[in-house]
């Protein structure tokens, strides 16, 4: 997440993340009961968690409750971080579990990732071409209409960005994880992450195409 190329080109809201931050050290301090470290952790990751959860749930109040649950879990369980993943993906995974707990009973429906297998691989069809014609506002609107698992995987992969700088204050938002990190968070193989991404894009294109035809 400290990739300067990404930060330089990312959408911003407001202060870039401090370079060289040691998130693991931050967690160790949290484990020792350092409240300042917890506050720092919240500033650093809270909005990323909120962004991802909000993307999945679509409900702000619920998302904020889940963020609260997640931060409490971090306070209580910082010692469980074993350094096998980035802190960002670790906290996102916690948030995902908290989201699942909250949504238990109306479990996220996972779209069949294999239905695209028979699609021809050459030559973009009209639905794919819809992406070529799309305006940004149309794309964001269509993403909101995707199934939660599709929004989830897109948010995990592409959600990275920076908010901060100048008069706006800020930090890093969004997940923006690598494919292996996404696989770890979702507890699925990397290949399934890829197929889910492809399915998500196909669904997005379909929505855009339908909207384009209705205009």
């Amino acid at each position: 997440m400290n990739d300067p190329h990404r930060e330089a080109g990312a959408t911003i809201l407001a202060v870039a993340r401090a370079p060289g931050r040691d998130d693991a050290q931050l967690l160790r301090r949290i484990g020792q009961g350092d409240e300042n470290a917890m506050a720092e952790f919240y500033r650093e990751h809270g909005r990323a968690v909120l962004a991802q959860v909000l993307l999945v749930t679509g409900e702000r109040a619920l998302a904020e409750e889940i963020v609260q649950d997640t931060m409490l879990a971090v306070w209580r369980g910082s010692g469980s971080f074993r350094g096998e993943s980035s802190v960002r993906s670790w906290v996102i995974a916690i948030a995902r579990h908290k989201t699942r707990d909250r949504l238990r009973g109306h479990r996220l429906r996972v779209v069949d990732d294999t239905f695209l297998a028979d699609l021809p691989s050459t030559g973009p069809g009209p639905e794919v071409m819809a992406l070529d014609r799309a305006e940004l506002a149309e794309v964001t609107g269509a993403i909101r209409e995707l199934a939660p698992p599709h929004r989830e995987v897109l948010g995990l992969v592409f959600g990275g960005g920076v908010f901060g700088g100048g008069v706006f204050g800020g930090g890093v938002f969004g997940a923006g994880l690598s494919l292996p990190e996404v696989a770890a968070v979702l507890e699925i193989p990397v290949g399934t992450v890829k197929s889910r991404l492809t399915a998500a894009r196909a669904a997005l294109s379909k929505i855009l195409n339908e909207k384009g035809q209705s205009r």
Binding site: A8, Y42, R43, G46, L55, E64, R133, G159, G166
Partner: protein, 341 residues
Amino acid sequence: MNTDFPHLDLTDLIGAATGQDADNRVTAHLAGCADCRAEADRWNVVAAGVRGLVADTPEMRPLARPRRHMLADPRRRTTLAAGAAAALVVLGGAGYGATAALTGHAAAQDGTSDNAVLLTVVRGCAGLKMATGTLAAVNGDRLVIDTPGGRPVTVIVTPSAMVSISGASLSDITDGAPVTVMGARSGATLAADAVTVGQTKSLISNGGGQPTRGVTAKARPSQALPQPLVPDKADIVAGTVADAGAAGFTVVTSTGGRVQVTTSGGTLVTVMHGSVGELRVGATTIAAGYVEPNRTLSATAVLQPQPKKPFSGRSQGTVTVNGCSPTSIDNALTTAFAVGA
């Protein structure tokens, strides 16, 4: 990349879209493979859409004090019951601080939302930011751009700002106008894919604005145009327009060479010295400039890309400028968003 298959695989394309793995191999392949460029652009569109949504995440609120039973942890209960509560009070402060940082200028002026403003960093010029969205209103030198998610950004177009409008009419190509033409050469004639009216020297790969030999300069992806934007076998010529007519015009280069250019309905025309009044309300608009204390964006360059083909996902991607002058910034925006898009 699967070496048994000539195209980039999904991992490469995703890496390119996220900026994580855009290594030389991927970059080189994208420069020479139109199919993969198209695929990468589509993923860029998806990525930009997601970032637009994520960037619109509301400010964090202070976390509520937890219920006691949530703190139950046999090993640490005695210390955590007080500690967690105290920490969450701290968190509340942090949340408040973050909110205050974003809304400190509560009396947001000029119609700009006092909430998060969607801006993108522009590389190569400290403090330069970019707003992308739909032009909602024009009032004198003041623009309102609706960013993804509906949040407006107020843009003040400075007197020295460059205003570029892509998708202009072929009639905007007039005798005496400086132009850069990109297209496919056939003999001594260039069939124009894109014509940029104005000062566009940075688009020429040799950096001098004129071909050094022959009538045209070959676009060199690694130096001038962003690689995904360089059409295969594209030629570029720069000079001054002469003999402008319905079917084309002649470019007179600085060395006196004359290149016959043919145009068609498919020729993309970009005017680099437009006026604010020519901007189209409702069109995708990109403004680059500096954030003022009153939270407006003081723009040094404004661009409207080609209608209905304006957005290739790069509007949320990296734009690099070669200088901080309005011309440099305008050239960079035009290169990134309009020419060849």
